[in-house]
Amino acid sequence: MNLPPLLRKMLLIDLIKGLKVTFNYQAPSEAITEQYPLERPVIVERYRGQPRLKVDPESGNSMCIVCNLCALACPEGLIVVKGERNPVTKRKEPVSYTYDLSRCMFCGLCAEACSTDALELTQDYEMALYSREGMVLDQKALEEGQQPVPYVK
């Protein structure tokens, strides 16, 4: 409608148009809310979340060879690796591997530096914890990864 501006103002045309828009959006099926614990969001492939140390599925040993490259690559210096050579297999195996998640900025440089692809940043995102100490992940936590409690309504 091409009415003169004064008439548009007097008849509140623009306000009524706005009211029409909000009225039409009212169907609950239009809602795009994601009911989080019930529905889980789709995480994109390249998302960098909780770190994880891979275990060789055949032998059950850690794939980490304690080369210390991840610790060197980390700009925050939050990875500390200690290893020992296994006298039987002659392989170097991690004795303790700690990853301080509270200081991590998820740049992914550690995972890129890893020579055996043992360390990766997964798409898991539920990293909230009750204590600061718990943010320092040890080798066991890193290998197990996240085990979220399933939500039951």
């Binding site: 306000l15 009211l19 959006y25 009212q26 169907a27 809602a31 309504k153």
Partner: protein
């Protein structure tokens, strides 16, 4: 005792007119409980409708579709710590919410839910409502001043400036409607019941009277009443993004919920003024077009039908509820509510009850429409700036109101005026 109760039921007057103290008390109790329930359901409806307008879901967790959310909120507010700021003026701080709630609820004394369903029929009904609801400003200023904090003070100043300036336009619009009551009978009335009866005797709702004058007066009132109750888009006093929460920033827990209750009660009160003055109060829609006893009978089934539809929705919800142990109590509760609603609907089908209740039903439906409008505005319009607000009030609504008032008076006097002019000419 029983005699006193039944004696009133036979009479065809409001409790105030019949001089029945007992029934007046019963009416007051019913209205108080009814308004509190309406406020509770408004709380849920507002969050839900607003959420849907903004493509969200709103409360979903407490009860089916968040139906029990208002009760959870009320419980939370009741057990919250009650803080009074250290340097606050304790007495004024304490009495401000009381004043606000009392003024908001007192206005309902004269609201006519039906020809006999009002606590009393005051002959200055509309004046009483306006006067008492204006007293609410006092409570707001008290709250803002006694908090001894700058945000509440500024909020209350804005609020009182706004309420006072919109009251002028509101008053002019109301005078238009009061003028219309005097037109055919010759004697105007300020009584709320009298105004509706005038619309009945003139066979028109005042919104359609002297088109477009009645409609213009109604539009002025409809805008002014939103400003009067401090709701969006005129919600400057409680602008969340500017003043934290306006005049009740320092209030917490139960005192805060009293302000909440008072705000919604005031919304209901001004909506019922609008319904009484322009939308024919308790009269059913289309009284002229669909006249006759058959239509009367058909329209009198509406209250029961509405309850049956609600009951049906509840039972449908019960059937569709997920069959898991955690939801057992909710499912049973919803089913019980469904059956209760159905039972009440059946009671409303009884002819004696039907005749007495349908007035209340139509009044409530019209008020509910206004409440929906409030939510709709809030979901749509951005907030006015303070100077824009004052401009709309003083430069647009006030002159229009004056013009409509004069035009209404002239139109009403048309027969006398023409005869006088003709007399002069001859």
């Amino acid at each position: 005792m029983l005699d006193a109760i039944t004696k009133y039921l036979g009479s065809n007057a409001t409790p105030g007119e019949a001089g029945s103290m007992l029934w007046a008390t019963i009416y007051i109790l019913i209205i108080t409980v009814g308004i509190s329930l309406a406020v509770i359901s408004m709380n849920w409806l507002e969050r839900k409708i607003l959420a849907h307008m903004q493509i969200r879901l709103g409360p979903m967790r407490v009860g089916p579709h968040g139906l029990l959310q208002p009760f959870a909120d009320a419980l939370k507010l009741l057990i919250k710590e009650d803080i009074i700021p250290e340097n606050a003026d304790k007495l004024v701080f304490w009495s401000a919410p009381v004043v606000v709630v009392m003024t908001a609820f007192t206005t309902f004394l004269v609201v006519p839910f039906g020809p006999t369903h009002a606590v009393t029929d005051m002959n200055i009904g509309i004046l009483f409502m306006l006067g008492v609801s204006s007293l609410g400003v006092l409570g707001i200023i008290m709250a803002g001043w006694s908090s001894n904090s700058h945000y509440p003070l500024m909020g209350s100043l804005r609020s009182s400036a706004q309420m006072v300036s919109y009251e002028v336009a509101m008053g002019l619009a109301i005078v238009c409607a009061v003028l219309m009551t005097s037109l055919q009978t010759g004697t105007g009335t300020l009584s709320m019941i009298g105004i509706v009866q005038a619309q009945a005797s003139q066979h028109t709702w005042f919104i359609f009277k002297f088109f477009p004058l009645g409609f213009l007066a109604f539009a002025i009132f409809a805008i002014a009443m939103v400003a009067e109750t401090n709701r969006a888009p005129f919600d400057l006093p409680e602008a969340e993004s500017e003043l934290v929460a306006g005049f009740h920033t320092e209030y917490s827990g139960f005192r805060w919920s009293l302000f909440f209750l008072a705000e919604y009660a005031a919304m209901l009160a001004v909506s019922s003024i609008a319904v009484t003055l322009w939308l024919g109060g308790w009269m059913r829609p289309f009284p002229n077009w669909m006249s006759g006893s058959t239509w009367d009978l058909a329209f009198s089934f509406f209250p029961a039908l509405t309850l049956f539809v609600l009951a049906g929705l509840c039972l449908l919800g019960t059937v569709r509820m997920p069959k898991i142990p955690q939801m057992k109590i909710q499912t049973a509760g919803l089913g019980i509510v469904g059956f209760l609603l159905g039972f009440v609907g059946l009671v409303l089908l009884v002819p004696a009850v039907r005749e007495r209740v349908q007035d209340i039903y139509w009044f409530v439906v019209k008020v509910a429409f206004f409440m929906y409008l409030y939510i709709w505005y809030r979901g749509t319009f951005p907030r006015y700036r303070f100077d824009q607000l004052m401009k709309v009030g003083w430069k647009v609504l006030l002159p229009t109101g004056l013009a409509v008032l004069i035009a209404t008076a002239l139109w009403g006097l048309m027969p006398q005026l023409t005869s006088a002019i003709l007399g002069v000419l001859q």
